[in-house]
Symmetry: C2
Subunit: 582 residues, 2 copies
């Protein structure tokens, strides 16, 4: 037997009992006549004590020579500590050791295995198995498990069935790039790894499964931006015989349940906002509404003077920064530099200080008098002591720039609180998105998304204006889920493929099985998919999804721990009927 109890369990009530513990040597303090060892396992730390009065000399010496991270098993008696440690649950006791077995030695770890570590990201990833010994990483993985258990039990209790869909599927060249898997048995042919189980879940609806979910790995061979992973996990869901409202209600229920069970937060009904409104008020289709600082469009109150920058702009838009009037000239100059960084891209920024005495001081006093500026203040809801920041230019870029500034200022002002949760439904997304490079439209959500009722004609005349039955669930400025009501009519689906530039032959080759399926009585259906990695990170009050993935890949898609991908041998290549073409 390796242990009778774990290193996190012993309390004052265990005093006098004999215990067996196993774990890692976390720390050794050697005072010569007494040696304390902190023993660590998944559940906590327990202090072991060896001393010259009560411990054999051999054992004392053995204890004093223990190195960090050595794996040991001990037997001993639980005793009360002379000086208690209120910072850990086992701080009232220690174990007076009578037997000590070294189960495995350890060489010196490449970084300190402690809550705060001296190891940088790269070295911690290379030795991820040591990183996982650290409590914060381990706690994140346990937290993730807790979230997935809650998701599964909640959905299962609502009648959802988890169905496993295949991983070796068919390549569909549109959208993001597929990871491909050469088939040995079918020469010259390839499987693809799923970017999502989209078509399979729709086929399950055609099959009458009605309420489906799956927590499932998905794969995208994209050039990786920071904090994207080539393999990621989705909570994938689909329902039949539902309208958009049914889906929003169901998954609002799930999200409320998670916030309550996982974070103890009671959230009321989630607010809803159209895509157009989100862009107008926050410059962004995933607004963080933990704080205000809504956009105010100022064209009507500022385009009547001689300030040509504004007069020639498609959009003039501002926000009020709480307490910003106290910024020094230098601080404001720095803010202007910040918005002019290439990552943000503004050409400049106009500002108005709303002084405590009710007067205004702006960077455009030459063009605007106090009365004008009072109108800006009214529009932006600026109060005395606030700073109004105004950007201008074409609509899309200016909104994106002001959105970036809003987020940056909120961060600086401490308004993005990790223990506050502000969910939001964004609805009525456009059906299509214009690719400005090729001047063609592609599906904003995916080609199976249904247009809003009565908008099929608009598809011919003004495709960019067509709204879809598509929705995102936003939490604290992150899209945590997105979905749509699907097309279930074969003819509409064919029309959609045509609008997306598929020839009938291409549509048939790639999605023939789905079009076929729609001939046999496809029910109305729709669904949603949550990005689990992101959801867990946000529920955990953190930003980086890598911290919630046991074995993540780096930005080049490499697993630096196992050193993958790696070259394969010629025999393997030959079996796959392939040659390298470097």
């Amino acid at each position: 037997m390796f242990r009778s109890i774990t290193c996190g369990d012993l309390r004052i009530s265990h005093i006098e009992s004999e215990v067996v513990l196993s774990g890692w040597v976390h720390k050794v303090r050697n005072k010569g006549f007494v040696v304390w060892v902190d023993l660590r396992d998944r559940y906590g730390l327990t202090q072991l004590v060896f001393d010259q009065d009560r411990t054999s000399k051999i054992l004392l010496e053995k204890a004093s020579s223990l190195g960090r991270e050595t794996v040991i098993k001990i037997k001993g008696k639980v005793i009360e500590r002379a000086s208690k440690n209120p910072n850990i649950p086992t701080g009232d006791i220690e174990v007076l050791v009578t037997d000590l077995d070294v189960l495995n030695e350890s060489i010196l770890p490449p970084f300190t295995i402690d809550d705060d570590t001296d190891g940088g990201e790269d070295i911690r990833m290379k030795y991820r198995y040591l990183d996982i010994r650290r409590k914060p990483v381990r706690d994140n993985l346990i937290f993730r498990h807790k979230v997935t258990m809650e998701v599964r039990n909640y959905l299962s209790n609502q009648g959802f069935i988890e169905v496993e869909t295949p991983y070796l599927i068919k390549s569909t060249p549109e959208g993001a790039r597929d990871f491909l898997v050469p088939s040995r048995m079918n020469e010259g042919q390839f499987y693809a790894l799923p970017q999502s189980p989209q078509t399979f879940k729709q086929l399950l609806m055609v099959g009458g499964m009605d309420k489906y979910f799956q927590i499932v790995k998905c794969f995208r061979d994209e050039d990786l931006r920071a904090d994207r992973q080539p393999e990621f996990t989705q909570i994938d869901c689909e329902m039949a015989f539902v309208e958009q409202e049914d889906i929003l209600k169901t998954f609002e229920g799930l999200t409320k349940h998670l916030l309550k069970e996982i974070r103890g937060v009671d959230s009321g009904d989630f607010p809803r906002m159209t895509y157009d409104e989100a862009l107008r008020l926050y410059g962004n289709d995933k607004p963080d509404i933990r704080f205000g600082m809504q956009f105010a469009e100022l064209n009507s109150v500022c385009q009547h003077k001689d300030f040509n920058v504004f007069n020639s702009a498609e959009l003039v838009v501002g926000i009020a920064v709480p307490g910003g009037a106290s910024y020094t000239r230098k601080e404001i100059d720095k803010l202007i530099d910040w918005v002019k960084r290439p990552q943000v891209g503004a050409k400049g920024m106009v500002y108005v200080k709303c002084n405590e005495d009710g007067t205004y001081k702006s960077s455009v006093d030459k063009f605007y008098d106090q009365e004008d500026l009072a109108k800006w203040a009214k529009a932006t809801n600026a109060e005395k002591g606030d700073l109004i920041c105004v950007l201008s230019g074409n609509i899309n870029e200016t909104r994106a720039q002001l959105s970036a500034l809003r987020m940056e200022l909120a961060e600086r002002l401490g308004l993005r609180k990790s223990n506050e949760f502000a969910p939001l439904w964004v609805v009525d997304f456009p059906l299509l998105e214009l690719d400005e490079e090729t001047n063609t439209y592609h599906a904003m959500h995916h080609p199976f998304t249904s247009p809003k009722q009565g908008q099929m004609e608009l598809l011919q005349t003004n495709p960019g204006e067509v709204k879809a039955n598509a929705y995102d669930l936003v939490l604290n400025g992150n899209e945590i889920g997105g979905g749509s009501i699907r097309i279930h009519d074969k003819q509409i689906q064919a029309t959609m493929f045509k609008h997306l530039g598929f020839t009938p032959e291409e549509a048939k080759a790639q999605f023939g099985f789905l079009m076929d399926a729609f001939q046999y009585g496809a029910p109305p259906h729709g669904g949603i998919a949550f990005g689990l990695d992101r959801l867990v990170a946000i529920l955990g009050g953190q930003e980086t999804i890598r911290d919630f993935i046991a074995f993540p890949k780096n930005n080049s898609g490499r697993d630096v721990m196992i050193d993958a991908p790696s070259p394969i041998n010629n025999e393997q290549l030959k079996e796959l009927h392939l040659k390298l073409d470097l």
Copy 2:
């Protein structure tokens, strides 16, 4: 709203209520003045009624023209049926329809969508989404969901943490073939899909995670035998600070829980048997012990006469077939033909009829007298009326042949009852297996399995004799789980790789990260993996795992529904730095 209640819910207590139902037209019976429609959804069937007295003419006509599998939504009033149908839960009522919307039409399905279908396997797989509409298939998928929920909740309650391990890993050329995934970003390099998360779960133990599980897809690019799938699902588990006994207890607990919760079966403590014993008594390392017919080795009672077939045989072994003495000469000849089939491979079979009058009649009466045969009967526990079947030859082949015969006879005798469950632990597996073609040893379980204590020396002298801390859980003649205590000592692992024919360089290239990890204090650990597809099929009282997989592949590894794998275009190939080599 598409429905106020489902097609499985309405009872006599709902009479007079107004309901909305949606579903598929299962069957239409048209008597002219009255039309009955069976409406089907995931939850059941409800009878709709339209008649000339209570239904508008237009509606009656519309109903009479409904084709099978049309998707409709109806509104109506629940009324009591004149002639009740006790075979379905909704058989007491019907719904008098007042509104009928056709939501989607269906062309004629390629096979009948009913419990019994006229569709063969191939056509059902091509139109799997229609097959899933059939209750038996749907019920299997729901059953699978129920099993996985039970597994997850049980293990989670026991302190196990589900951790997702990566799917894009490193290729390890030993063992079964990997599916490979070319990397676009890392030219000429490949990921592999995991055959199991074996090394990752061991690294999680090194990382202190202690109790891990995962229900996870695994991949093997093997030539597919019947009822094998290139992608399959495992319940993968690992524990640290445990001995074999801890693991057997924990997963016996899980299996008992499943038998109880899923099938209502109380199973006592699972019997255990060594690998050697299983081979001796059943000729098989996964014996079906729902029935007896144990092997009796007859060398000592039959190798003293002039029957050279037996005298020259390494093994003479028999079983008693209950009631087999009544087989006619023709039936016995057919049995002999059966064992001589190439799939079984016996050269012949000796039999003894144990007559009701206490005499014996054998096919070798020339060589053996009644007294001899009585000894055979005693050894095989044959009773009056039984038939003793005896095979002979070299040990391994003869055991395998008699095992095949035992299973065949049990099947014919109805002894393999699908609602009986006989679990069994088989322990003390050999560490190594001789590959007779190459005359080299390879790991029977995998290269991380630890030899039994004190047997390291045997590795040098008699490797085939070394037993491992390895165990299988067998249920009704199927291996449903297998595992081992792992090596956690770097030196022993290195020795093992050497014995398996790895050069130090090869071992380092493939498993360097694991060997590295073992330097930093690896705890004693071990685990088990269950084949979920098989487990679910057996718990469901069925044989074919394909029936419990939503979208299975055929024996050539093809998904005939989506037509994968398939050719890819040259651009895709080029991006992956590959050329076809056909």
